[in-house]
């Protein structure tokens, strides 16, 4: 391979690639633990950017036919510490590296989350994410997944948010534990720890065991993706953690989870005929999660919580696609290909628009100090560039053509509808899934309109919004790049689909022909529609030129409008809350104020899952613990009695066996 006029050996190139990723990141971690000065922090973040930049080359190198693999010279009892990057992982690594890099650039540029500790941990997170996606040994996979949890836990410290952090930590670890069991068992049946040797190991176990394994894997990774009932940590953590941590969790870490679930189900375990039961269960869970996320996002007051529920919804849709892929795989494989491509494309698209929106929210908070959309408004006048860039993000999230969000939803709907299922029971699933996807899409669009409208449009609702601080120089750059990606991936989605198709074929082992394009409606539709939209807007602008204009104050029925004399964010979603009342767990509280005769009215929303599942569970565990605690008297004689009783019991049991 020719590079800079120097002919490099392939092995050397691979070594350079891995070194360029590992060495800067490791150096960054080391510097982060040693230094504390603000100047070094930028150097450390710079090292992380270098690592990310190297990670971007994963796909080009893989494409050029190199086998990207590396093993540490030491090995453990379970196997080597090996990394190997296949085509699909390479796509994911390249893509996630771009997103990671842009987020780190924003960290450097913004004021909110900086410092050596934070930057050092970013390096650790990138390393963990990279090795989890590139893992070729089950040990590396589990260790790096664990490291992602740990590092994000550390990264999310901000102020006094221990409750939210620990909730995340505990729930993520329940997931981790399940995963260790699942992968441990899989390593046992595979007889090797090398993941590249695991293809189709599910064939040697019973379908029931395979289904249990699939369920465990989806559940284990689902704790991070926010599948119900494991989503309770998300809104709180997103709202209290540094927003870049939330952005990384929502985009890069979700990509990892989706990639590993995808490979585990379709490559390692493999899908057999009799496994539709588990697919049904997963479809049920993910559809419920998507609906739940969409519903809850409508009433949130904090933009970050809206984003948390939106992440839930989007990731649930991706999982839904995978579950449908499992059903389609046996009945109409070419549609399985299509829906899996749709799911993976949505994962990529989600990470673009979600990181864009989360960083926008961070910038808004930075400039105005407001965290509640009830007190924001009118920012488009003060920060037009930010408003324009985030408009692209919002359109993309709401799946409005010609953005990338539209393309993946369009692909999803057509693959759900197109599949030709033999059995009637299964085909009944199609209308229901379609209805769920349709309702979710519309509700999320409503929620994003509310988010954008109440931050950027209307009149300022508080003093801070009237004259916001100017944005720090350069904060807009990563946002603008992401906005361009939103549009570019919308227009040129077909090329990304082709790349993903190769990955899907190699992982699932579906025959490459007939190609997914043969069943797709409108191969070039995203590009054509996009071009038509642009041209039509231009033509309409030319034909009906903006004419004379006079600026006046908004008419206030003869009064001058006060800052609260406009629609409120709570009022905006109130009709929907009334329509879907039973799901919200909303209670209206009327309280007396100290001034005589005056009352205040609040509507409070508590997550029903927290109220009816987590809290009772917590109480039950505490009360059991208390009862057990009574036996622990601290008296040595009692403990001797326990030992004696245990010994007798064990002996009796052994004797009887």
């Amino acid at each position: 391979m020719e590079l800079f006029n120097v002919t490099l050996q392939n092995e050397t190139l691979v070594a350079v690639f891995f070194a360029a990723i590992l060495i800067p990141a490791l150096a960054g971690i080391a510097l982060g633990t040693v230094f504390r000065s603000a100047k070094i922090a930028n150097v450390i973040a710079g090292l992380c950017i270098v690592s990310c930049a190297a990670g971007v080359f994963a796909y080009p190198l893989c494409r050029s036919g190199l086998s990207l693999s590396y093993a540490l010279p030491v090995s453990s009892a379970v196997g080597d510490y090996a990394l190997a990057i296949d085509q699909l992982s390479a796509v994911m690594i390249s893509f996630s590296s771009v997103i990671f890099m842009l987020i780190v650039v924003h960290v450097v540029k913004s004021t909110s989350d900086s410092g050596c500790r934070y930057s050092g941990l970013l390096n650790a997170l990138f390393l963990a994410v990279f090795s989890c996606m590139a893992a070729d040994s089950v040990l590396v996979l589990l260790m790096s997944w664990e490291m992602i949890t740990l590092v994000t836990f550390l990264l999310s410290k901000k102020g006094n948010n221990d409750r939210a952090r620990w909730m995340f930590f505990v729930i993520a670890h329940i997931g981790g534990l399940v995963l260790i069991c699942a992968y441990g068992y899989m390593a046992h049946i595979a007889g090797t720890s090398e993941l590249s040797q695991w293809k189709g190991i599910g064939a040697s176990i019973s379908p029931v065991a395979s289904m249990v394994l699939i369920m465990m894997i989806v559940m284990g990774f689902g704790t991070k993706l926010g599948l119900i009932p494991f989503h309770a940590w998300m809104p709180n953590l997103y709202a209290t953690a540094p927003i870049h941590t939330a952005a990384l969790l929502s985009t890069v870490c979700s990509n990892v989870a989706i990639l590993v679930i995808f490979k585990s189900i379709f490559s390692y375990i493999g899908v057999q005929d009799s496994m539709s039961v588990v697919a049904f269960v997963i479809i049920g869970i993910s559809a419920a999660t998507a609906l739940w996320g969409a519903l809850e996002s409508l009433v949130q007051k904090e933009p970050k919580k809206i984003m948390a529920y939106s992440s839930m919804e989007n990731m649930a849709l991706v999982v839904l696609c995978m579950a449908l892929g499992m059903i389609f795989l046996n009945e109409s494989p070419v549609f399985a290909k299509l829906i899996l491509i749709a799911g993976l494309l949505h994962t990529l698209n989600h990470s673009v628009f979600k990181s864009l929106m989360l960083m926008t929210i961070d910038t808004v908070e930075d400039c105005t100090g407001e965290k509640n959309i009830g007190r924001t408004g009118g920012l488009a006048k003060a920060l037009p560039a930010l408003a324009a860039v985030s408009l692209v993000g919002v359109l993309s999230m709401a799946a409005i053509p010609p953005t990338n969000g539209f393309v993946s939803e369009w692909l999803m709907i057509q693959s759900i509808m197109g599949a030709d299922l033999q059995s009637k029971g299964m085909s009944l699933l199609i209308p229901l899934v379609l209805a769920a996807v349709g309702i979710c899409g519309m509700m999320m669009a409503a929620s994003y309109a509310r988010l954008y409208g109440f931050i950027f449009l209307g009149r300022p609702r508080s003093e801070g919004m009237k004259e916001p601080r100017a944005m720090k120089k350069g904060t807009i750059i990563p946002l603008a790049v992401l906005a361009l990606l939103c549009l570019g991936m919308g227009f040129f989605a077909t090329f990304i689909m082709d790349i993903l198709a190769t990955g899907v074929i190699s992982v699932t082992g579906v025959a490459p022909s007939p190609s997914y394009r043969s069943v797709m409606s409108g191969e070039m539709l995203p590009l054509v529609l996009g071009a038509f939209i642009v041209v039509t807007v231009a033509v309409v602008l030319l034909v009906i030129r903006p004419g004379k204009e006079r600026e006046v104050r908004t008419w206030g029925c003869g009064e001058s409008l006060g800052k609260d004399m406009q629609y409120s964010s709570i009022g905006f979603s109130q009709p929907l809350v009334r329509v879907f009342h039973p799901f919200y767990g909303d209670t209206t509280v009327v309280r007396d104020t100290k001034e005589g005769g005056k009352k205040t009215v609040h509507t409070e929303f508590t997550e029903p899952f927290v109220r009816y599942l987590y809290k009772p569970l917590g109480r039950a565990i505490s009360s059991i613990a208390e009862r057990i605690g009574k036996t622990q008297t601290g008296n040595i004689q009692t403990y001797f009695t326990y030992i004696l009783v245990t010994l007798l019991a064990v002996l009796l049991v052994v004797r009887m066996l």
């Binding site: 488009a380 539709l525 206030g556």
Partner: protein, 314 residues
């Protein structure tokens, strides 16, 4: 595709755009006659548009670039839809004539309008947007599912022309529970989406009743003209879709002259019948309370879902 065919498709697109104010005028006229009034001329909407487009715009000082852009986006969305609507001939000029894309272009229109409603910073716009959003959460899925039912029923994929053609050529055999249920859902969606009575009253600016007009309140001059034209186009597109997708019999499938004349006549009858239906509905039914609307909209959603389920069960 040859030249005369392209010409024909362009002519039908232009015709669709041109007649849309007329349709609104006709509905208003029928309504007036039913209420024993003389009513304005059926060409009044053209005059209104001409008047508006000549006037200067009065824009709120709180409004940003988006406020000025919204009418253009709405207009674009409707023009794109008009280009993919078969009117008197089943082929359409648009190369993106995909029914899923169609639903999303409707969403684009709605999304732009909701944002525009929030721009002025008055309570009216916000109220309009809020109610519109509530309705759309229930309407849009019904629209999606009823159209998808047609696609699944005909097995013709997502191409609007193919769907229209295959129902048309199946003749009376195409009349099935699925088609009727989906058609019923589509009619309710049409009435709701175009904010007609009983969901909304297009003629009032009363705070308590308005949905669509609330969002338009801040617009004036050219902006208002575009928004009004877009709304009229939306109504016409819905009516034409009902006539060429759900009940397409009579629409010309070949380029022969008698076919086209027949198709034009049939289309005129269909449009007049739908216009009469809408006028009759508006004259006889009272507007619903805002929180009654969800019941009706859920009914439309349920109908569309039943239509699709009936495909797989029956």
């Amino acid at each position: 595709m040859n030249h005369p065919e392209i010409m024909l498709m362009i002519i039908q697109l232009v015709a669709l755009i041109i007649i849309s104010p007329l349709i609104t005028g006709i509905i208003r006229k029928i309504k007036a006659l039913m209420q024993h009034k003389v009513g304005a001329s059926i060409f009044q909407p053209y005059r209104d548009l001409r008047k508006l487009i000549r006037k200067e715009s009065v824009v709120s000082e709180n409004a940003s670039f988006l406020f000025r852009l919204v009418p253009y986006i709405c207009m674009t969305a409707m023009l794109l839809l008009a280009a993919m609507t078969p009117f008197i001939y089943t082929e359409v000029i648009a190369p993106y004539a995909d029914v899923i894309a169609m639903v999303y272009i409707f969403t684009m229109f709605r999304f732009a309008m909701v944002l525009g409603g929030l721009e002025g910073g008055s309570a009216f716009g916000g109220m309009g947007s809020s109610r519109e959003v509530m309705m759309s959460v229930l309407i849009e899925p019904a629209l999606l599912i009823s159209i998808m039912t047609l696609s699944a029923m005909t097995g013709a994929g997502f191409d609007i022309t193919e769907i229209s053609r295959s129902i048309n050529s199946a003749g009376a055999a195409a009349i099935s529970p699925a088609l009727l249920l989906a058609g019923a859902a589509f009619v309710i969606t049409m009435v709701a989406e175009n904010t007609r009575v009983p969901f909304d009253n297009p003629d009032t600016h009363l705070e308590l009743t308005m949905v669509h007009e609330g969002m338009l309140l801040e617009y004036s001059g050219k902006g208002l003209a575009m928004m009004e034209l877009a709304s009229m186009l939306r109504l016409t597109i819905f009516m034409v879709l009902l006539g060429t997708m759900f009940f397409p019999w009579g629409t010309a499938m070949t380029m022969s002259f008698p076919d086209l004349v027949l198709s034009m006549a049939v289309m005129a009858v269909k449009l007049l019948a739908i216009a009469f239906g809408i006028a009759l509905l508006e004259s006889t039914v009272a507007k619903m309370r805002v929180f009654r609307m969800p019941n009706m909209l859920t009914a439309s959603f349920a109908l569309s879902l039943m239509a699709m389920i009936s495909l797989y069960v029956l």
